[in-house]
């Protein structure tokens, strides 16, 4: 089986903990993420899932633990790597999709400029090439070419989120962190976004870690699931297995609390 032949995971997390004074953010989290896998992290607000995501993505410094990423130089701990190297990773191999598009976009820069920024950040200096790539990516997220010189302030919520995704994926990252990517969007817009994400994940062979409280989203997007409660991981497994045959009391409560997913 071809993928099993890969011997190193893309991301290996070991003993990751982060507390805010006496309050626990997340505690002793560990897992492997393999190339092409999409992992969902679910839990209620305050369960530590966003803290965990921020620690993984290098936005927060964890108190203990390692976040090893598969680089050209083998598995490297991104927690202890130099800040320039980590920031470089953040605009090449990694991408981060924020819940609120305005946090991940430059609202005073055109859609094309938003997509082009990551290219220019890694040294692209040919205007027409940058523009061509931006057009291609806007098309892939279903934003018409004639909107590329408009600012995101003129876009709907769904369009902004799609623009944020284009901006993140244009440099061909290998790992995408997503924080409630469909939160705050209309149901119909959510569906469109989910479809888009699924297609992109498959076509680009992306790995992704998606934080959400929406079990329907992970059901459709995630291969695997991690359930968090009070900063602890209480259950992990295949998405459909965790949702259909939850083992932990909290997961059972979570699953039974939502309308049929």
């Amino acid at each position: 089986m071809k993928d099993i032949a890969v011997t190193e995971p893309l991301l290996r997390v070991e003993g990751l903990s982060k507390s805010y004074g006496r309050r626990i953010g997340c505690e002793n989290v560990g897992f492997d993420l393999w190339p092409g896998e999409v992992m969902g992290i679910v839990g209620e607000s305050g369960s530590g899932k966003t803290t965990l995501l921020n620690c993984l993505a290098g936005h927060l410094a964890p108190d203990t633990g390692r976040v090893l990423f598969d680089t050209d130089a083998g598995m490297v701990d991104t927690v202890t790597m130099s800040e320039p190297a980590r920031r470089m990773l953040g605009r090449t191999d990694w991408a981060f999709v924020h819940q609120h598009a305005q946090d991940g976009l430059r609202m005073n820069v055109s859609a094309g400029g938003n997509v082009g920024e990551r290219l220019m950040a890694v040294g692209a200096r040919h205007y027409r090439d940058i523009r061509e790539k931006a057009v291609d990516w806007l098309d892939r997220v279903e934003i018409a070419e004639d909107r590329m010189d408009d600012r995101p302030t003129a876009f709907s919520g769904g369009m902004r989120q799609r623009l944020q995704i284009a901006r993140n994926l244009v440099t061909g990252p290998r790992l995408v962190f997503m924080d409630e990517p469909t939160g705050g969007l209309d149901v119909s817009v959510q569906a469109r976004l989910l479809d888009l994400l699924r297609g992109l994940v498959r076509e680009m062979g992306l790995s992704a870690i998606i934080v959400t409280h929406d079990l329907a989203v992970v059901r459709l997007l995630a291969d695997r699931l991690m359930v968090m409660k009070s900063g602890q991981v209480v259950e992990t497994g295949l998405t459909d297995q965790v949702l259909d045959d939850p083992q932990h009391g909290y997961t059972q409560l979570l699953v039974s609390s939502v309308l049929q997913v």
Binding site: M1, E37, A191, L220, D223, G237, H248
Partner: protein
């Protein structure tokens, strides 16, 4: 191809006083390549539970569930994911898809996941949809708006898109008319001919008798209920 040995399953209801409900005990069966085995038993006897355990959808408490060379009861998620992608297909009674995705894409998806070229995957998907009498004008629409019978056929097309060496079929002929029922039974026979090992649940006795080589009554695996 599929071997189930001494599998037990319990449900623990943590939110209802931690009640532990044993639902299966000592379940064992073997399915050879090219063989189709029907699970029978009264409603609630555990046919679906056993099938879901084979698919890895339910966790087995103990025992061995071997599909090819993977023990589903113990495998890591990514091993099960690879197994589902390449070896083990499942036609459930329910269609679960991202809304808005056209039917053609839904059916082609298992092939795309295997890395088949898009054009080839769509050709194969269209052939199956045509075979299952889904009108061509529906192919570009999402199956979420379809009737029960149409959704069922889309599910079957999806399950047969890739030639899985092992297949699980949950009521594949329910809610189908005679013509489409015949198409599905033919698909199952073809799968057997190419050597697929199949486990199925059929309430349709005629269909069961036609395609199944053996019948296993899961009532024998049902633990004595403690009232």
């Amino acid at each position: 191809m599929i071997t189930v040995e001494n599998v037990t399953k319990t449900f623990t209801l943590h939110n209802q006083g931690g009640a532990v409900i044993p639902v299966m005990e000592g379940a064992s069966l073997t399915v050879a390549p090219g063989e189709c085995v029907a699970l029978v038993g009264a409603s609630g006897s555990g046919k679906s539970t056993l099938m879901r355990m084979i698919y890895g959808n339910y966790l087995a408490a103990s025992g061995v569930i071997a599909v090819g060379d993977v023990d589903v009861a113990r495998a890591a998620p990514r091993e099960i994911l690879a197994l589902r992608r390449e070896v083990l297909g499942y036609v459930s009674q329910f269609l679960r898809v991202v809304p808005r995705v056209p039917t053609r894409e839904v059916v082609a998806e298992p092939l795309l996941a295997l890395g088949m070229a898009r054009a080839d995957a769509l050709v194969r998907a269209e052939a199956l949809l045509a075979q299952l009498n889904i009108p061509e004008r529906l192919w570009e629409l999402s199956p979420t708006t379809f009737s029960g019978g149409e959704q069922q056929r889309v599910n079957i097309a999806r399950g047969f898109a890739h030639e899985y060496p092992a297949l699980l079929l949950d009521e594949p002929t329910a809610s189908l008319d005679a013509v489409n029922r015949e198409v599905v039974l033919t698909l199952i026979e073809r799968a057997k001919e190419r050597g697929a090992a199949i486990v199925g649940i059929f309430h349709d006795v005629e269909a069961r008798d036609r395609v199944c080589d053996r019948v296993i009554d899961v009532t024998g695996f049902t633990p004595a209920r403690v009232a």
